[in-house]
């Protein structure tokens, strides 16, 4: 009984999380084929270096179009902001450094939702919820993004808000000199994520 109770509670938590995520979707006709098709294209963005480099499988961020490990011994840290003398915002600013190979940067968001041009926002997901993109198949990533226990507790609307408005996501399309952008435009990407979720969020098999 001691072993069964935590298992039941665990399954119940996961089920409730999925239920909450699903309930936040607008009422509409479920179209699994359309959802899968939309996610399959959006997946190319998630797996592009601009997104995946900060969603690594390990605890070291990646960099460059070849997604090599970040130079020095840069680590995620508990809060995703690095450790000790190597915090992400020690080098990364509120905007891209001018010139080739300069540190990229993005602005922090103020309480009113506007961007603060003097305060950087640059970090990985936390150690508790690492949100790994690296090495995930389309099906694995599709399920992970909709699982509140793995997506940082984001609801459907919060997930859309993240891909539409987070300065770190927007940075992917203005990454500074020497870095490629994702394969489709940001507008197309957001539209595909919405299309995927509006059609029920089915995952590729």
């Amino acid at each position: 009984m001691k072993l069964i109770a935590p298992i039941i509670i665990g399954f119940a938590s996961i089920a409730l999380g999925w239920y909450a995520f699903a309930q936040s979707a607008p009422l509409g006709v479920r179209d699994d084929d359309a959802a899968r098709a939309a996610f399959t294209v959006a997946y190319r963005v998630f797996e592009s270096p601009r997104c995946m480099n900060c969603h690594p499988a390990g605890n070291t961020p990646l960099q460059g179009d070849d997604s090599h490990p970040h130079f020095d011994y840069v680590l995620r840290g508990e809060d995703g902001n690095g450790i000790s003398a190597l915090r992400c915002s020690n080098c990364h600013q509120a905007g891209n450094g001018a010139g080739l190979n300069m540190p990229p940067g993005a602005p922090n968001v103020m309480s009113d939702g506007s961007f603060d041009p003097t305060t950087p926002r640059w970090h990985l997901p936390s150690a508790k919820t690492p949100m790994i993109f690296e090495g995930r198949s389309t099906a694995q990533l599709c399920r992970q993004l909709q699982d509140p226990t793995q997506n940082g507790g984001l609801s459907r609307d919060q997930l859309i808000h993240h891909v539409a408005s987070d300065p770190l996501v927007l940075w992917g399309w203005s990454p500074g000199e020497g870095r490629t952008t994702p394969p489709i435009s940001h507008e197309q990407f957001v539209a595909l994520v919405k299309e995927w979720l509006d059609n029920g969020g089915a995952c590729p098999k």
Binding site: Y73, I83, A85, S89, C91, Q93, N101, M102, P103
Partner: protein, 159 residues
């Protein structure tokens, strides 16, 4: 040009500069604090490390506008009499060879010790890997950090 005010080594300071000017050059050119060094200019080597609200930032890529209203500490601000545990340890171990990177090394070491008063060798390797030394003084840096930790533990202070 804009007036930018901040707390530098405990003193209120105002400079009239381009807000995009790197903090490093404001410190060296406008405020004549030359202890902070220019190394790579792209946040790779760590020579230019100073503290912003206790974080070990790279001043060569930090626009001075970022420090407005905040607290900045440079190597000159660790102490006025070389009594800071990290300064004492650096002298005791005779860490520097050419010395060029050492102010950055020391500022990162202070940051580490403020967060972790008794670091292990692994903690030191993690925290100090962003400070490069062409002379290869890494082992002496590591030893000095252990000595500084012991000095601080006796005194009960770091910064």
């Amino acid at each position: 040009m804009k007036n930018i005010s901040f707390i530098l080594n405990g003193k209120s300071t105002t400079v009239a500069v381009d807000p995009d000017k790197p903090l490093l050059w404001v410190l060296r050119e406008d405020l004549a604090l030359t202890g902070t060094k220019y190394g790579c200019g792209m946040a790779i080597c760590g020579c230019c490390t100073v503290h912003l609200e206790g974080d070990a930032i790279r001043s060569c890529v930090t626009p001075v506008s970022r420090v407005e209203g905040k607290r900045v500490t440079t190597i000159e601000g660790l102490s006025t009499d070389l009594s800071h545990p990290v300064q004492r340890a650096w002298m005791q171990i005779q860490v520097p060879q050419c010395g060029y990177c050492q102010s950055g090394q020391m500022m990162s070491a202070v940051c580490l010790l403020n967060l972790n008063p008794k670091p292990t060798d692994a903690n030191i390797a993690e925290a100090m890997s962003g400070n490069l030394c062409r002379c290869g003084t890494y082992q002496r840096v590591r030893n000095a950090i252990h000595v500084a930790a012991a000095i601080a533990a006796k005194r009960g202070v770091t910064e």
